[in-house]
Every structure is written in C-alpha cells, then in structure tokens.
C-alpha cells in the first residue's frame, strides 16, 4: 500500500510539472506567432500579416499599417479641431474689441435694418438709444397717436384716409 501511494504521488508531481511546461510552451507559441505576424508584409496572404484580436478568434483581421494610418489621421484631426477652436475664440474677442456697434445690452436697441419687410417707421441700420419710457409716457404717446390719427383722417377727403396704424406712425413722426 505504501509503495502504491508513493507511486501515485510521483505520478501527480510529474503530471503537474507537465502541465506547467505545457502552459509555458503555449505562451511561447503565442508570443512567437504575434511577433511573426508583425514582421510580415501586409496583404501577403489570408490570415498572415494581420492582427487578430486576442479576445476573440472571430474578429475581422485588420492590417497593422491601416491601424497606424488611422491613428495618424485621428491625431491630425484632433490637432485641426484644437486649432479651429482657438481661431473661433480669437475671432470672437476681436469682433467685440474692433466693432464700433458693440454696445452694452439694455441701453440700445438693435435695429432691424432697412428691408421691405420692416415697417417704414422702424427702418434703420445701427444701434438706437433706449429711452426707458415710463408707463405714463407710453400711455401719453398712445393717446397722442390715436388723436393725431383721427384728426389726420378727418382732414383727408379721399378714400385713402383709412390708413393702417403702422403706416400712420411714420406720418405722425414726420409731421411732429
């Protein structure tokens, strides 16, 4: 019994050392395989000259040169984006400094230009001062415009006397 037990323990030890050498040989084989694929010219054959994903044997093989080319392109794009960002920032700062039309918000109105779609009494290019009219002044202006419109329409004898308020404000301001 003792002899048999001794034989079993010897066999176990041998089996363990054989497993260890198997693992070492597998690792060595993998290392050699990958170094071999790196040194080979791309496109020389199916499977050769390509990098396989270590995690999955079903992954699509990609050429090393293609990967390096892509990495280069990504770096270039990153650089271009950074440059564009810097340029945009610089333009914005310059615009504020150089433009004479830059005014602090609240004290000026940005006019709508002189296009045909803008009512005549609002046509202007450039900033216009904000008078900060009070409610009393606003109501006085409203009443004054209504009275002036009624008077103006009363003075006209033709049919064109029925003028829209938006058009009349221009006439009102001109007459004032």
């Amino acid at each position: 019994m003792i002899e048999k037990e001794t034989q079993i323990s010897v066999l176990r030890k041998e089996m363990g050392s054989m497993r260890g050498s198997q693992r070492a040989l597998t690792d060595k084989y993998n290392t050699l395989q990958s170094s071999l694929s790196r040194t080979e010219v791309p496109g020389s054959g199916p499977g050769s000259g390509s990098v396989r994903s270590s995690s999955s044997s079903t992954a699509v093989p990609v050429s090393t040169a293609v990967v390096e080319d892509l990495v280069d392109q990504i770096e270039k794009l990153k650089q271009q984006i950074e440059e564009a960002k810097m340029r945009a920032k610089a333009d914005k700062v310059d615009e504020n400094v150089e433009s004479e039309a830059f005014q602090p918000a609240g004290n000026f109105f940005n006019s709508r230009g002189t296009g045909d779609d803008v009512p005549e009494y609002l046509r202007y290019d450039g900033p216009l001062r904000n008078w900060h009219l009070s409610k009393r002044e606003c109501e006085r202006a409203v009443n004054d415009v209504w009275i002036a419109k009624e008077e103006w329409q009363g003075d006209q004898e033709d049919e064109e006397s029925n003028i829209h308020l938006s058009d009349f404000i221009y006439i009102y301001c001109l007459e004032k």
């Binding site: 609002l122 009219l133 002044e137």
Partner: protein
C-alpha cells in the same frame, strides 16, 4: 413761441425720459437747436421713437390701452376692435344713467345699487359668460368700497396717469380677450372646414356661411352677409349671386380680408 407751448411729443419724450442725448440742455429752445446734431436724419429719430414705443408697449402690455395699440400696430387685430371698445365704454354709463333716472323718479342721482347695475349689465352684454360677470361684480364691490351703491359715472374716469379703475380695466381686458378668442375660434373653424373639403385651399360661399353660423348660433343672417362680403371683397348684393352660382373662394385670402375688420360674437336679440 407757439411751438414751445405745444411741444412735439417726440421731443417731449426725449426731454423727460431717462436718456442722455445731450448733457442736460439748459433750456427747451437750446435742446431743439441741438437736436439735429444727435440725429443725422429724420429717419434715425423716427426709428428711435418707434423702437422705444414698441418696447414700452410690450413692457406695459397688462394695460388695455397698450395691449390693444400693440395688437393693432402689429396687424393682429383690426382697428375696429378699438372702436367697438369705445362704443361699449360710452354705452354702459349711458344705459346706467337711463336706469338711474327710471328708478329715481326721473332724477339722476349718479348712484345705482350693485345688484341693479349687474342686472342691467347682464342684459347689455349677453355673450359674456357668468364667470366673467362674477369677476366684474367683485371689481364693482371693490370700487363701491363696501357700500351698496356704485357711482357708475366715476367707474370710467381716468386718473392723471391715464389709468382707469379696476372695474373698467377688467371690462376692457375681458372685451379684448373675448374678441381674440372668437377670432381664433372662427379662423380655426374655417381651416377645419377647408380640411374636410379635401384641403384644396378653397371653400364655397355656402360652406363659409355655415362655418360662421356654427361658431355663433346667435349671429343674424344680415351680419353673416357682412362678414362674407368683407371676406369676398364684394357687396352684400353680390353675395346672393355668388352663393347661387356656387363659386369657390380661396380660404387664405378670405380669412385675411375677414380679419381686416371687427370679428365679434353677436349679442342675443331681445335679451
């Protein structure tokens, strides 16, 4: 010197508003002399007045005067809406005075009990919902300062800032809201009818008549004819012919012309 006694409003606003066109003009005449220096053209001054007016109207839109002016200015409402409001503000005190005279043996006292005032108001404004009358009654009780009678003449008077009392402001706000709501209801109903007819952008006169009647069951035929004549840009006499011929009308143009006048629910006949 006559110019000084009647200063142009634009100049007045420049002088009195919180602006620094010039460093404190010592007199009004020096201000007028300096005015052209600031404004290189009439257009600059006109535009500045225009932008300031619109800005102020938008800020004070809660006030009926400002709201109605802005809506008419921007083409959202016809000027007839203001005329209708003025008619209402003239009619109500006149009717109340008649009521006052009738219940006080032919003598005007200037006062009316709140229940009588409200009863007469209900007979006058037949399209107004009961919820609106409830709000008006509260405003009236507030104006009467817990008294039983209301001085109906004073309800429509303005203070020196051009503001009216709560009752009058509420009445005007309700009038405007009702007109805007009916305008939207009618335009939406016309669009829906056009969609039902195949969405070709056209509707027959009879269909337009039905739509107007459906949005306001109390609207008399004569008033519907007026709406149709306005929308079709023809006389009332021509409406009959066009309806007989079953002529189609372009909906977009019809709506545009229709909205160029007052759109309002009709008061109930015999109310």
């Amino acid at each position: 010197m006559s110019e000084l006694s009647d200063p142009p409003l634009v100049c007045y606003l420049l002088l009195t508003s919180n602006i620094n066109v010039f460093p404190s003009p010592s007199s009004y005449s020096s201000f007028l002399l300096l005015l052209p220096l600031r404004y290189e053209s009439n257009q600059a001054l006109i535009a500045e007045f225009g932008y300031n007016l619109i800005d102020a109207l938008e800020r004070y839109i809660a006030d009926s005067d400002c709201k109605i002016f802005l809506k008419i200015l921007q083409g959202e409402l016809a000027e007839e809406v203001r005329d209708d409001e003025i008619t209402m503000l003239v009619d109500i005190p006149r009717v109340m005075e008649d009521e006052d005279v009738s219940i006080h043996s032919g003598v005007s006292s200037g006062l009316l009990p709140i229940p009588i005032y409200m009863r007469r108001l209900r007979r006058l404004l037949t399209t107004k919902p009961e919820s609106a009358f409830a709000k008006l009654q509260k405003a009236l009780q507030f104006e009467a300062k817990k008294g039983r009678n209301v001085a109906y003449g004073e309800l429509f008077e303005e203070d020196e800032d051009g503001n009216q009392g709560d009752f009058c402001e509420l009445l005007r706000a309700q009038h405007l809201e009702e007109i805007i709501a009916y305008d939207k209801q009618l335009v939406d109903a016309i669009a829906a009818a056009e969609e039902r007819e195949g969405g070709k952008g056209e509707l027959h006169l009879s269909a337009l008549r039905d739509v107007i009647q459906s949005t306001d069951a109390d609207k008399p035929r004569a008033e519907i004819n007026l709406y149709l004549a306005r929308g079709c840009n023809c006389t009332i006499q021509e409406i009959g012919e066009k309806e007989t011929n079953n002529e189609p009308f372009e909906v977009a143009e019809f709506v545009l012309r229709l909205r160029d006048g007052l759109l309002k629910k009709s008061e109930k006949v015999g109310a």
